[in-house]
Amino acid sequence: MNTGITMIMRKIMQKIAWLSLLSLTATTAAAEFEPEAVGKVETLPATYPDHWVMVHDFSFFHMMEGEIIITDPLAEHLGSQYKGMIPASFTAAYARSKKRNEHYVAESFFARGTRGGERTDVLTIWDPATLEVSGEVIIPPKRITGMPKTTMIGLIGDDRFLGVYNFTPGQSVSIVDLEKRTFVGEIPTAGCAFLIPNGKRSFTSICSNGSMLTSHLDREGKLAGTTKTPVLFDPDNDPIFEAPATADGVAYFPTFWGNVMPVDVSGKDIEVQGTWSLLGDGDEGWRPGGIRPAVADADGMGYFLMHPEGGEGSHKNPGSEVWVYDLAAGKRLAKIELENWGLTVATSGRGDDRLMFVTNVDMGVDVYRLSTNEFVHTLNLGGTTPFMVHGAE
C-alpha cells in the first residue's frame, strides 16, 4: 500500500516537473518572439526599371473601376509582376512624365457614383514611389469619354504643361500647368481633335477634313496663335488612325489601307514628309488595325499590328502579326507572328532589353523579347480589359 502511494506520488511529481519545464520553455520562447509589425505599406523604387509597364485595365464592363497596373513584365509570377495600382475612373486617359517623375490620370467622378450626379473631371497626379495622390487639378467636365487613344492627353513644353482633349461635342483642349498645378484655360480646336505635342510649346490636332491645326502656347500656357495646314489626307477613303508611332521627332500615322504618313513634329510648325506603304509584294489584303495599331520603341523602330483579309470595316480587327520597321528609312525589318491574335501593341526597355506587348483577344497581355522576337509569356493581371499598355512612349 505504502509502496503504491509512493509510486503514485512519484509519477505526480514527475508530471509536475515536466509541466514546470514546459512552462519555463514557453516563457523563454515568448520572451524571444517578435510579432510581425502591423500597418506596414510597400513602396516602389522612385525610378522604375526601363522594362516596367503601366497596364491600363479599362474595365469596360464597369467603367468607374478602371485601373493602371504598375507591372514588372519579366517577373515569373503574378505576385512579383503586379507591383501596385492607380485607380482610373470612367474611361480615363493616362500619361507619365519621366522628367517630372509623375503619373497623370485624367478621369471623371460622379457625385452619385454609378447613377450619375454632378460630374467632376480631375487631373490626378500620383507619386510613382508611394502610389499616393500627390496633387490634383480640377479641369472642365468636358474631357472626351470613349475608347482610349494616346492622343487624348499629352505633355507639352518640355513637360511644363499637360493637355486634355475635350468633346461635348464642342472640341477644345484643357491646359494644366504642371509646375503650378493649376488649370490654365481651354483652347478651342473647332473641327479638330486630339493633341500631338510638337515643337517647343505647341500641339497639333487632327481635323475632320484631313487637315491639321497647330496651337501655339505662350510661356504661361495660353494660346499665342494657330497654324492650319491644307488637307493632308483623305479622311473618308484612307483615313489616318488617331494615334501615331512617334520616334525622333516624327509622328508616323498609319492609315486604314496600310500607308504611313510621317509628320515632322520637332518644330513649331509641323511638316508632312513623303507617304510610304507598310505593304510589299505578296502583302495584298493585309491592313493595320486594332485598338492601338502602331507604336515606336525607344530605339526608333516602329511596330504595326497587322491582320489579313482586311477591307472596309476591318480597321478594328485584331492582328495576327506585328510588322517591324526602320521608321526613318520606311523599311520593313521583320514580321513577328503572334502567339495570340492581338488588339494593342506597346514596347518598353532599351537596346537588347527591349520588350513588346500585345493585348490579346482573351484580354491577357503577351510579352515578347525583341532581341529575338520570341514570345516570353502572358500576363494575366486580374483586370478584365487591358486595352492599353504604356511603356517606352
Binding site: 467603367m63 470612367f90 481633335a193 483615313p239 470595316g313 478594328k316 483577344v361
Partner: protein
C-alpha cells in the same frame, strides 16, 4: 462577307475565354475589335435628333428576326450593349435611364420588304453600363476626329448624365435612294 466570315471562323476558336464569353459571336468584335462605348457604324447622315423628323410608326415597318441578336437587321450598324437585353427595347430605353438626343445614324436593309431604313442608334444614359449583348460592326466607321462617323465616342452627350447604359436602334425614316 464570306471573307469576314472566314476570318471570324479562324478567330472564333481563340475567342473563347474570359470576357469573350459574354458576347455573341458577332459581338466579339464589339469588345475585341473595338469595345465601343456608344452608338453606331456606317453613318450616312451626321448627328441627328432622336425625336426629329417624321418617324414611321413601328407598325408600318415589317419585321423579322431576333432583336436580342447582333444579326437582327436593325443592328447592321450598331455599336454597344443592346437595350433589348437591358430592360428596354429596340426603340425605348430601360426604365429610369435617359435617351441621348444626339447620335449618329446608319442605313439598314429590311429583309422583309427589301427597303433601306434610316436607323438612329440613340444611347440610353444615366446608369452604369448594362454589359449585356455587346454588338459592333465597323462598316463605314471612321476615326474619332470625324465625330459624326465615329463609334468610338461615348454619345451620352446632351443628357443629364454622360454615363452610358445601352443603345437603341430606332427606325426614323425610309432611306432615299
Amino acid at each position: 462577307m464570306n471573307t469576314t466570315d472566314n476570318l471570324m471562323d479562324k478567330l472564333v476558336e481563340r475567342f473563347s475565354r474570359g470576357v469573350a464569353r459574354r458576347t455573341s459571336r458577332r459581338g466579339l468584335f464589339g469588345l475585341l475589335g473595338a469595345g465601343v462605348v456608344g452608338a453606331a457604324s456606317m453613318p450616312l447622315l451626321p448627328v441627328a435628333r432622336a425625336a426629329g423628323g417624321a418617324q414611321p410608326k413601328a407598325a408600318d415597318v415589317p419585321d423579322s428576326g431576333d432583336d436580342l441578336s447582333c444579326d437582327y437587321w436593325r443592328y447592321c450598324a450598331i455599336d454597344g450593349f443592346l437595350c433589348t437585353c437591358c430592360g428596354g427595347s429596340v426603340n425605348t430605353c430601360p426604365p429610369g435611364t435617359e435617351m441621348s438626343p444626339i447620335t449618329w445614324i446608319g442605313t439598314c436593309t429590311n429583309p422583309v420588304d427589301g427597303k433601306n431604313y434610316v436607323i438612329s442608334y440613340n444611347d440610353c444614359c444615366g446608369k452604369s453600363g448594362c454589359g449585356n449583348c455587346l454588338c459592333n460592326t465597323n462598316q463605314g466607321d471612321r476615326p474619332m476626329y470625324n465625330p459624326p462617323k465615329s463609334n468610338d465616342i461615348n454619345w451620352c452627350l446632351g443628357t443629364e448624365s454622360t454615363i452610358y447604359n445601352c443603345s437603341t436602334a430606332i427606325v426614323v425614316g425610309v432611306a432615299v435612294e
